[in-house]
Structure formats: C-alpha cells, structure tokens
C-alpha cells in the first residue's frame, strides 16, 4: 500500500496542487479586494492639504476622529439610513404582495408575472433616465398630473427628493424582489398549506403563521442584500439629483464620490469609505445575530 508508506510526500504534493489551484482566485481577490481595502485604510492616515500641489501629511488616526464626527460625514450617513429605511421594507413588502397575487391560478396570470418581473431587465441608468423624464418639472408627466409646471419639480423639492429617488429605486428593484419572493412562495410545500387549511388556519392567519416562517430565509436574505445595496446606491443619485437639492439627497456614497473626485480630498474620502465598510459589516453581523434567531431553515440539524 504505497499511500501508507509515503503519506507525507503524497500529502505535500496534494497540498501544493491545492494551493496552485486556489492561487488564481487568491491573486484576483488580493489585487481587486484586499489591496484596495488596505490602500484605502492607509490613505485615511494622510491629510490632503486644501491647496493643490502641496504634499499629503501623515496624521494617523486623528483624521478618522475628525472626519467621523463631522457633519460632512454624519449628515450623508443619516440620509443613507433614511434611504435604506425607505427602500428595503417597501421593496420586500411590495415584491411579496405581488408574488402572492401572481400565485393565483387565474387566466392570463402569466402576462402579469412577466410584467411584474420586467424591471429586472432594466439597469439603474435606464430606470433613472425614465423617471428623470417623467419627473421633469416642465415636460414630465408627473408635473402635468400635479398641475405644477415650471416649478422646482419633485426632484427639486428638498422634502420630496429623497423619497422620490427611493421610489425609483424600489421600482427598479421590484422585478428582482418579485422573482425572489415568487420562488420562495412556490417552495412552500403544498401539503403543509393543506394541513393548515384542515387545521383551521386560512387566509391571513395561514399566511402569517405558516407561509411567512417558511419563507423567512428568503426574507432575511432580501433584507441583508437590500441594506447593503441601499447603502451603496450611487447611480440613481448621480443621474437624478447629483445629491441635490442643496444636499438633501447627498447620501454617503455620493458624498464619498464628490469628496474624492471633485474635492480631490483622498484622505477624507478614504476615511468615509472605510467607515461605510465597517458599518456594513456591523449591520450584516447584527442582522445575522438578531434576525436570524427568528429565521427558520428547513435543513436545520
């Protein structure tokens, strides 16, 4: 039995082969994820002087302390939080509601299923351009409906701009949410729903007590993905409002972007980027520890 006689040599060769096989993935990960992350943290240690041409100065953690307590970070963070609160629950509930409606065995239901899932084929840019046109204060359909032509329009209204951008985002994500929720609903075993019907739970009670717990892993997944993508929203802000009016849609990622490219303040931008990363990690961990207790997985041991 040769494998027994030279176990170490075989093991070493296997190990080398294994490392060789994961090397490409590891290299890509290193170049595109790990290096930028370390580099960003590092950039955050250097203060960029307000006049171009002067050298950056090493300031260590003090820049983290100043930026993270400043309103130029805290206000965008609050707007991002609001944006997530506007988009995530609405997106999940609308998607779930449409999925429940589309489960009915009605004639022509396929047409509705197609319409409901259609926004998955649109990109952020396409959705933004469509709604930019619709929301245009002079020629847009919404202005016409509201009888408010020539004013600032919804996107120019400090109170309505963020909800409007959030609504566009919900609309754009609705197709994905609908497909996700439909898949979850169709995975609920028919016999369990039958059992619930015979056991006396129908309608809303059956939905709340049986269906929702059974699709909770999907709801949980949609929640986490929604929060992360909500905090990372950029395209719709850039195309619809550029952070305006007067900073009322200046969410965190957009603030990082303008700080980096327009103000050329790489140090401040880097600090905020690291902060966003840490916030997302902590939020995801929190969701896992708090929400997951209420999530049921069917293959639980």
């Amino acid at each position: 039995m040769p494998t027994r006689r030279h176990p170490s040599r075989y093991r070493r060769r296997d190990a080398l082969l294994a490392y060789a096989m994961i090397l490409p993935a590891f290299a890509a990960f290193g170049v595109f994820v790990f290096f930028p992350l370390v580099r960003t943290v590092y950039l955050g240690f250097y203060r960029v002087p307000p006049f171009p041409g002067l050298p950056s100065r090493y300031v260590g953690f003090s820049q983290y302390a100043t930026v993270l307590s400043h309103s130029q970070f805290l206000e965008p963070l609050w707007l991002s939080t609001l944006f997530v609160l506007f988009t995530v629950p609405t997106g999940i509930l609308l998607g779930l509601g449409m999925a429940v409606a589309a489960q009915r065995q009605l004639a022509g239901i396929r047409i509705f299923r197609t319409i409901f899932s259609s926004t998955i084929a649109t990109s952020v840019a396409v959705a933004s351009v469509i709604f930019f046109t619709l929301l245009d204060p002079t020629s847009g359909l919404f202005a016409y409906w509201l009888g408010e032509r020539g004013g600032t329009g919804i996107l120019g209204n400090p109170t309505l701009a963020l909800p409007a951008v959030a609504a566009v985002t919900v609309w754009q994500n609705l197709g994905f949410s609908f497909i996700l929720m439909s898949a979850a609903l169709s995975s609920v075993p028919e016999e369990i729903l039958d059992a619930a019907a015979v056991d006396g739970a129908t309608g809303w009670r059956r939905f709340a007590r049986v269906t929702v717990p059974l699709i909770s892993p999907t709801l949980f997944f949609a929640g986490i993905v929604g929060v992360i993508s909500g905090f990372q929203s950029f395209g719709q802000i850039d195309l619809l409002t550029q952070g305006g009016p007067n900073g009322h849609t200046n969410v965190l990622l957009y603030q990082i972007y303008t700080t980096f490219y327009q103000d050329a303040d790489t140090g401040t931008a880097a600090v905020m980027a690291v902060a966003l990363f840490v916030i997302l990690v902590l939020l995801t961990l929190a969701q896992f520890t708090v929400v997951q207790r209420r999530v049921f997985y069917a293959d639980e041991p």
């Binding site: 016999e191 039958d194 019907a197 015979v198 006396g200 007590r209 049921f296 069917a298 639980e300 041991p301």
Partner: protein, 337 residues
Amino acid sequence: MASAVGLEAVEKRYGASTLALSSLTLRAEAGELLVLLGPSGCGKSTALRIVAGLERPTSGTVRIGERIVNDVEPKDRDVAMVFQSYALYPHLTVRKNMEFPLRSRRVPAAERERRVREAARALHLEDLLDRRPAQLSGGQRQRVALARAIVRDPAVYLMDEPLSNLDARLRVEMRAELIELHRRSGTTIVYVTHDQVEAMTMGDRVAILREGVLQQVGTPAEVHDRPANSFVASFIGSPPMNLLPGELLGEPGVTAGVRPEDLAIEPGGPVAARVSLVESLGHEHHVACRIGGDGGPLAIVRIPAAGRPPLPGDEVRLGVRGALHRFDPATGERVGR
C-alpha cells in the same frame, strides 16, 4: 362524536379531458375504518381530498354526518387529516405543532395543555415535545402527525397513505398503533393506501378503486373470497391470484382464477406444468410454473415450507384444492356465484 361520511355520485374532472373520479358513491359508517385501496392514479387520494374539502367535486354530494358539506370550508368540516409527507410545520416544536389546530380554534390554554399532554402520552411523545420536526426520525414524525390529528378529537380522521414513508418494520408497528387508536377512539377513519396488506389488516371494509371507478366494497374477507372482477382478484392477495384460460382447468369459456394457496402440486393432478422459478420465504415457498411446459401461461403455487420444494425445470402436476373463481374473459366481471 363519530360521524358517517358519504359520497353520493361524486365526480371530479380536471379540465375537459381528465376524469379523476367517475360517479363515486361510497359511505363510511360512523365509527368505521374504511380503506380506499387502489394503484396510484386511481382517484383514491382525490376522493379523500374531496371529503377534506381541499378539492371541490365537479358534481355530486359530500356528507359528513347528515350535513351536506360541499360548500363548507375544510376547517369547518370537523375532520383531521394525516398526510403521507406528515406535513408537520417545520418551524414549530412538536408541542406547537400539536397546539396549532387548537389555537386556530381558540381552545383555552388549560384545555389545550391537557389535550396535548394526553395525546403525547398516547403516542409516546412526552420527551420530544420541545423538539422540532427536523430533529425527529421518520417514525417519530409520523406519530406527531397522528398526535396533531388526535388532539382535535374530530368527527372523522382522513389518512392519506400515512405509513408509506416508513420502513417495513416501523410500518407494521404503526399499523398496530393505528388499529389500537381506532378501537379506543371509535372514530370514523377513511384511510387511503395502495398497500393491500395494510388494507386487509386494518380495514373494517375495503373499497377498491381503479381509474376513478369503484370496483368493489366489502369486508376484507369478502373482497378476498369473492372478488367482483378480475382486477380486484389480482390486486388483493400476495402473490396475486392466478388468472388462467379456463380450458386449462376444465372450465372452457371463462377466465379461471385460482389463488396460489388454492393450487397444489400433486402427483396425478389434472394439469401438467414445468417449474420455472422457486422463491423460498422461509415459512413458505412460491413456485412459479409454466402450464403445459415452456412458453405456457404462468401460475404461482404457494406451498408450506414443511414440504420440500421442487427444482426449476422439474415436470410437475397441478391440482386445484380450493376455490376456483370464474370471470368473463371480455369484461373481467365475476361469473356465477
């Protein structure tokens, strides 16, 4: 209180072409254990689901007790159902699973507690009450499914192949427990199975269905001893009844049915055959013979293990020692007595 269950001329169509049940009239008396037996796709599960209210009949009347329930919701029919997949609520503990139908009916907490305790004791689930279904074995899940039905104390139990996901040994055990449960509770049970052994051992009466059409209803002894047609004859009994051209057994013009235990290998018997296969089960042997030699129709003879079985290739003589059933070769219907 146990209630009778009646189906009167119940028909079920899916779309225009598929006829799942064809004018089924059948009654389970109060307190009776009625088995619906048939191969898969025969409509037995559809019939059960119609009684439960999970399917609506295309036409016909469904009664539970004396009440017509065609338009009554499943939850208001006072039936409890046990499913083949058990259909336990996977996110709830055993206790919560058992409480579920009681909570739906707003049974007070003290009463709920009492009923769950009683059912758990009856089915040996006391130690498992705080577990989730995923942490239970198949047999335990089956017991929880039964317990969830028992706590309801319904007028009728509907059971859809409840034992077919269990292994052979557990199935025999659970079969005994079900019979015991039926005897103790005295409740009506409509029980669907494709397993004729289950049907024969459990049923007060057995209803045999084929392609949506009722073939025969009777006690296990009746359907075994006087099958109404050749389908019932071949479906009941293991190994199945031999159906042979009548002229081979001196009964020209009919299909002759002889159960394997009613055939015997005897020197000087009237029928010549050649042994093609011998299966020894320990307590008995099943001897497959070609009548008239190779290429002839196959007949199975069941002989007790005490006798020494013949060997494949042996020439033997067969005789009919028990009942001989006669069926119309064209329709399969029973001829004569």
